[in-house]
Symmetry: C2
Subunit: 293 residues, 2 copies
């Protein structure tokens, strides 16, 4: 039982965590801190949080658990603000989409409290954002990745793991480097590719005609290009090295396909398409993800 | 009123055309020709077609309209088979995803009948395929592109246009070259990009882990990578030149993003993401495509 939970950044992710714990009577008071008055009012109204904090100090004072669900680019400033005010036994955890950078930031910001920083990444999301979109079942049957390091307090890790399980999530552990490499490939790269296609076509003189004739395939391929520009700029900044490697690999793959097209090597192109199609169909049969990462 | 309609390739596209015309009492008998006995039996059972033809000759004999909905790669052989058996006033139209190559094929296969070949491309499709998936509303509120050439018989063109309008479609006209350029950008390129990503990740030693952690964004981005390998090999072959140009442009766009990442030029990356996100959101607000091209 968490007596006091502080949610720093009361959006879809933080709000849904609070709602799921409340529903399972796993939390006492929930205190929220955020930038938007309107959003915090909606969070209060929907009882996502019980109280709005005026500043970082009052948000984390006497909190057993501090949940950081601010954009990755704001983690450093946020950790700096809360660090002096954490109670001695407080556990701090986060929901950032990249892990290595945040861990190093936490290490320097938290000092002796760093062992009770539990790095996490819930693989969940939805089309909507903000406290108004928060729901108590967002994490049900979803994966949450925890990326502890050598100094991580195992007892604190187990507490956070149990809370995620209370939310209905499946908790997995991996190294921060593995995490960042995996998500560079399956999430960050596709986002960059989708943004790139839309911006390329947007700049054409016949852009309106192009978008007029774009169909359902284009719609799905580019859906992630509607994502938040700031959030993705932050993620790229935090996971730059892994992503640079992925863009390089992908460019090589594209060059290979361009050469096959140049050489009219239809069997090679069909082989690529066949392997991709088989793998994609096997994956869909395997799993049925419901939403965004 | 079409007295006899021949559907060559009785799948989702051809079958839905027949069903829509039947529903609107715009066609007498529908004769079907296809490769799969099981699929033709399903088409008969669902009354998509009224009769199965044994060969191309009997399929098109005395047909007023011949609708070609075979894969692009089979258009040439199909046109060669039907050409000697077409009645003098028969109109031939197609539903191929590329137009310039098919027009040249039709020109040499049909000879003096070429003016009554009406090149068309319905921008519609669905997850499912085959006659079992055909439905009479597939083309409702969808676009159909017609790409006539100088020799095209305008009266035949108007007849085909009216039939598509009877199916509920909006008919537009453009040059074959414009058509192929537009679809290279908004359809063929995204398909290649999606196939490329899945095949690249599939080949990794940790592929299973990667697919395990792929979420909803990946699912939508790669949905078109589940498409038919043969069909897409054919489309690439038919639209090679335009697609080579698009892959080149896209590779340059990716290089630009890679350089920005290398140079830590976060404002430039955010600007690309912001423009893409705004354009993508404006497009969704504009239009609500229901399915695949």
């Amino acid at each position: 039982m968490i007596r006091r939970l502080a949610i720093i950044g009361v959006g879809l992710i933080g709000g849904s965590f609070a709602l799921a714990l409340k529903k399972n009577v796993a939390v006492g008071e929930v205190v929220g801190l955020g930038r938007s008055r309107g959003n915090l009012a909606a969070a209060l109204e929907r009882r996502v949080i019980d109280r709005v904090a005026d500043d970082a100090a009052s948000a984390v004072r006497e909190a057993d658990l501090v949940f950081l669900s601010v954009p990755v680019g704001q983690m450093s400033a946020t950790l700096g603000q809360i660090a002096p005010h954490l109670s001695a036994q407080a556990i701090v955890t986060d929901a950032g989409s990249t892990k290595q950078g945040i861990i190093e930031t936490a290490r320097s910001a938290l000092g002796s409290s760093f062992p009770r920083f539990i790095p996490g990444h819930p693989i969940a999301g939805a089309e909507l954002s903000g406290a108004a979109a928060a729901r108590d079942d967002l994490y049900r049957n979803r994966k949450v990745v925890m990326t502890p390091v050598q100094q991580t307090d195992r007892k604190a890790l187990e507490e956070v793991r149990m809370l995620w399980q209370t939310c209905g999530a499946e908790v997995l552990e991996m190294t921060p480097a593995d995490h960042d490499a995996i998500f560079a490939a399956v999430s960050h790269l596709p986002h960059v590719l989708a943004f790139a296609l839309v911006d390329m076509l947007r700049a054409r003189p016949n852009a309106d005609t192009l978008f007029d004739f774009a169909g359902g395939g284009f719609r799905d391929f580019t859906r992630i290009a509607a994502s938040s520009p700031e959030m993705w700029r932050d993620i790229l900044e935090a996971n730059r090295d892994a992503l640079m490697g992925e863009i390089k690999s992908y460019s090589e793959m594209l060059s290979l396909l361009a050469r096959a097209l140049e050489n009219k090597d239809w069997p090679q192109l069909e082989a690529v398409f066949r392997r991709a199609s088989e793998r994609r169909n096997a994956w869909t049969a395997d799993t049925r993800p419901r939403s965004d990462e």
